[in-house]
């Protein structure tokens, strides 16, 4: 086991809970775009904090960071490769037929 200085986990937890609270307050503003931005922005920040401090990615070898980023990048590749077909109802020379319920 490598030597590891432990950050103040309680404070990190408290920040996470506050962030959760803020993301819940979002819908009160009534603006959908703002709610989404807030919710997903906070999710990214929270996930980043959990990864960095609880999973100790912040002090882990760079290699592991690279690994995580690569996996996420692959998912981005998948998403954007599939989007022209699955995310749309219309495209060049094709269109979706009216389907059943949703």
């Amino acid at each position: 086991m490598t030597t590891l200085t432990h950050p103040k986990y309680g404070a990190i937890w408290f920040t996470l809970v506050v962030l959760l609270g803020i993301s819940l307050l979002g819908p009160l503003t009534g603006s959908t775009a703002f709610v989404l931005l807030l919710a997903f922005g906070i999710a990214v920040v929270k996930a980043g904090m959990v990864a960095a401090w609880f999973m100790h990615l912040a002090v882990e070898r760079r290699l592991i960071w690279f690994l995580m980023i690569t996996a996420l990048a692959l998912m981005a590749v998948l998403f954007f490769g599939v989007a022209p077909d699955v995310m749309r109802d219309q495209g060049q020379n094709w269109g979706a037929l009216a389907a059943g319920k949703n």
Binding site: Q92, N93, W94, G95, A96, L97, A98, A99
Partner: protein, 234 residues
């Protein structure tokens, strides 16, 4: 080259055959070269002719050249092929030339239903002609097709036309073809669609103008048993 095995019969097929020949020329060269070098080296450097091997790391500049030069040449060939294929693809699948007629193609387990608008040229009128596993078109005319499937994925393929397009349930896919000369051609299903996949054969009849007009007139009334086929509305 494909013509030797199955004669091309459509306008877009001409381009595809040319592209095929281009690729054959380029990759054929590399293939023959690589095989010749491979067998040549095995022969030349067999232990009986070359009792002691050389020490070559392949890491030095003048050695890497033997890989780097073919590397660039392969890339060049790729660029030529990419340019050719983009051109062909955009002609065949992207830009539809102005239509002379439209045909709706429905597919289901395990039959094709082709609907022609009839003599009036308008769909959803009583003179629409629906035919199972039988498509009649006019030679030389540009046909647009609207392709869909009722149940599972099928694939509309006319080998002699070099034409292939999957029919996907839930979506309407458009494409085009234009026959070059009269005759009868096979239509096949090219996507596994269940136990009757091998039975999904249909015929494409290409007719001269007058003959086709006569056929349209004679068949303008839809056969009774086909009324039940529901073509999903776009």
């Amino acid at each position: 080259m494909i013509d030797l095995l199955l004669k091309n019969a459509s306008r877009s097929g001409v381009e595809i055959d040319k592209l095929f020949d281009l690729i054959t020329f380029l990759v054929g060269f590399w293939f023959l070269l690589a095989e010749a070098v491979l067998f040549g080296l095995v022969f030349r450097f067999h232990r009986s002719r070359s009792p002691r091997a050389l020490y070559v790391s392949g890491e030095e500049k003048h050695q890497k050249r033997w890989i780097a030069v073919p590397h660039v040449l392969v890339l060049l060939c790729d660029v030529v092929i990419i340019a050719g294929t983009m051109l062909v693809w955009s002609h065949v699948k992207q830009q539809l030339p102005p239509a002379d007629a439209v045909v709706r193609i429905g597919s289901q387990q395990w039959a094709w239903v082709f609907t022609l608008p009839g003599p009036d040229g308008v769909f959803d009128t009583p003179d629409d002609i629906a035919r199972v596993n039988e498509l009649h078109v006019r030679s030389g005319a540009v046909y647009h097709f609207e392709l869909t499937a009722q149940d599972v994925i099928h694939c509309f393929s006319v080998p002699a036309f070099r034409l292939k397009q999957d029919a996907v349930p839930g979506r309407l896919i458009k494409g085009w073809f234009a026959a070059l000369e009269p005759g009868r051609y096979d239509i096949q299903c090219a996507e596994m669609c269940g136990i009757g996949h091998g039975l999904m054969a249909a015929s494409l009849y290409v007719e001269e103008k007058e003959q086709h007009a006569r056929w349209l007139q004679e068949n303008a009334a839809p056969p009774r048993e086909l009324v039940a086929f529901r073509f999903p509305n776009p």
